[in-house]
Symmetry: C2
Subunit: 325 residues, 2 copies
């Protein structure tokens, strides 16, 4: 399974590396988060059927987070489960999305509303695919790597933020670190009933902004770009509700601002964004729950914030846009 | 979750028995196998979202096989898995469909093409619901109970076939026997990689006939009615390919004919029915595989039959319609 982009840029590389795949049937879908929905799943299920895929067949997901999330879901629900392998092609997918067994698609702009836990038979990371990515795509993945440092590993955060140019860093080593951190959190709590929640840092706000952008923007935010905004806003909440120091808050804000352009959030967008947040899977009994930081490298899950404080946190982000930091 | 029928006939009974459920939100879908598809799932997922169902919510599936199969699928893929409980209301669902963790929906007339293994938190069998069923619905369930005898328990088959009137039998005891037989087969092989396959007796042919009927008939066959036809045809194959005696073949044929009206299969329908059989999930490498009987009470899975013999077996069924047995 490929999308328009990986069909052109990655499939030829893959077939060169693994000639045995040359006779595989190709299922091609449209690129982009806006196609990560159940209608695309129906198209893929129908193509699997057309190609006479069986329970004993194998689906190779060649692509970014969308392809891995959706391919895992489609495979594990086709004839009650065929096997699949992830071949992540983006930095986001290599360092984050392909790890941990979460699969799913969006429903009416609510992110990952339909899905399940299903583990691939294998995940193969070919760093050569990174050369096919734009700077913007690399940065989107970098946001999730920053997150891994923020929630679980101060040393890794320092390593990530020591240089100011992503391209000068040893990405292969950093990807391995991210995989190690994420896998260790997943191993502690594979079904997401406890500590695994900390991986959601930046995502309660980030998912809502991503959904909003997907609905209204001609060129929607990438996932990591939305998460980067979410991490700034949730770091502000961490400063107010938890022990995150002013110094750490400014460090995080400055680091993210040095990589990501500000997104033009206006006050009158907040009611809709906050409504979107209430659909987050982590919310119990319709309270808004957040993962917050005690310091860089240590997170806590399951903190309730009242709506007034959430507004203030968005205002913090909005005001940043009008000053240089 | 209810359908048009269980909303009227079973929900009032249930709320009388379990008053605690009176404040539950109701999701109602249209009755019938023709609505067991991904579009109905989308409707249910959207209603769950509308009612702010959370991962910690519980879906009660009040209905027959369609409601149990589809409800289990929808619940276990909503927000990566909410819990569900089966409240089977038909004989088919009580004695067979609700047991064993298979969930799923049809795709383009291919039965259960999309689904997964997911186990309910509980299954509660209230025999009072049986009084809401027509004779035809009871018989459809009886077909699966006959199957349990044929594949695994000669004594149970004898018990089932000793009377000639279903209503005079102790159904509650027979249901318990069927649940015990099915559960023991499922426990041996929960993920359907081996012996569990024997539960598919009658279904390779039965599913194809059911799909065909769903596509062309104004009043389609019930699942058990199609399986009953499948069991006659696959018993003929068992006689030709395995050790099933002529005596046992005639016993099975006569028992099924005494309960079920003949279905008007014509020779020119066979190419399409056989094509539908090739979509069966149990087929590897596009060969047609069958579960066949060595005798009443003992089945073998994974026998390949060639297409010519399959035609002859259908002809056996067709000729039966033109004679009294």
């Amino acid at each position: 399974m490929v999308d328009d982009n990986t069909y052109i840029h990655c499939l030829p590389l893959l077939l060169e590396m693994i000639p045995g795949l040359r006779h595989a049937k190709i299922i091609k879908i449209k690129s982009g988060e806006e196609h990560k929905n159940i209608n695309t799943c129906i198209q893929i299920w129908e193509e699997l059927e057309k190609h006479h895929a069986e329970r004993s067949s194998m689906l190779f997901n060649l692509g970014g987070g969308v392809i891995c999330d959706m391919g895992g879901f489609v495979a594990s629900t086709y004839k009650r489960g065929m096997s699949f392998i992830h071949l992540p092609t983006t930095l986001t997918a290599m360092a984050d999305a392909s790890i941990g067994g979460k699969t799913g698609v969006d429903l009416n702009n609510v992110k990952n509303e339909i899905g399940l836990f299903a583990f691939p038979k294998g995940i193969y990371v070919y760093h050569d695919f990174l050369k096919t990515l734009s700077e913007r795509q690399l940065l989107s993945g970098f946001a999730e790597m920053l997150k891994h440092g923020l929630i679980a590993d101060r040393d890794y955060w320092d390593k990530l933020t020591i240089g100011d140019d992503l391209e000068n860093q040893n990405l292969e080593e950093l990807i391995n670190d991210s995989i190690r951190i994420k896998q260790s959190i997943v191993d502690d709590d594979p079904w997401d009933n406890g500590r695994r929640n900390i991986l959601n840092f930046g995502h309660t706000v980030g998912h809502a902004i991503e959904s909003y952008s997907l609905k209204y923007d001609k060129e929607p935010l990438l996932h990591g770009e939305a998460v980067a905004i979410g991490m700034v806003i949730e770091s502000y909440l961490s400063h107010e509700m938890k022990k995150l120091s002013t110094h750490d808050l400014h460090l995080i804000t400055a680091e993210i601002y040095s990589h990501f352009n500000p997104y033009p959030i206006e006050i009158d967008m907040l009611p809709e964004i906050i409504e979107l947040m209430s659909h987050d899977k982590k919310n119990k009994h319709n309270l808004l729950k957040f993962v917050l930081l005690n310091r860089i490298g240590e997170a806590e899950w399951n903190t309730t914030c009242d709506e007034k404080l959430i507004w203030t946190a968005f205002e913090y982000y909005i005001h940043l846009q009008h000053q240089s930091i």
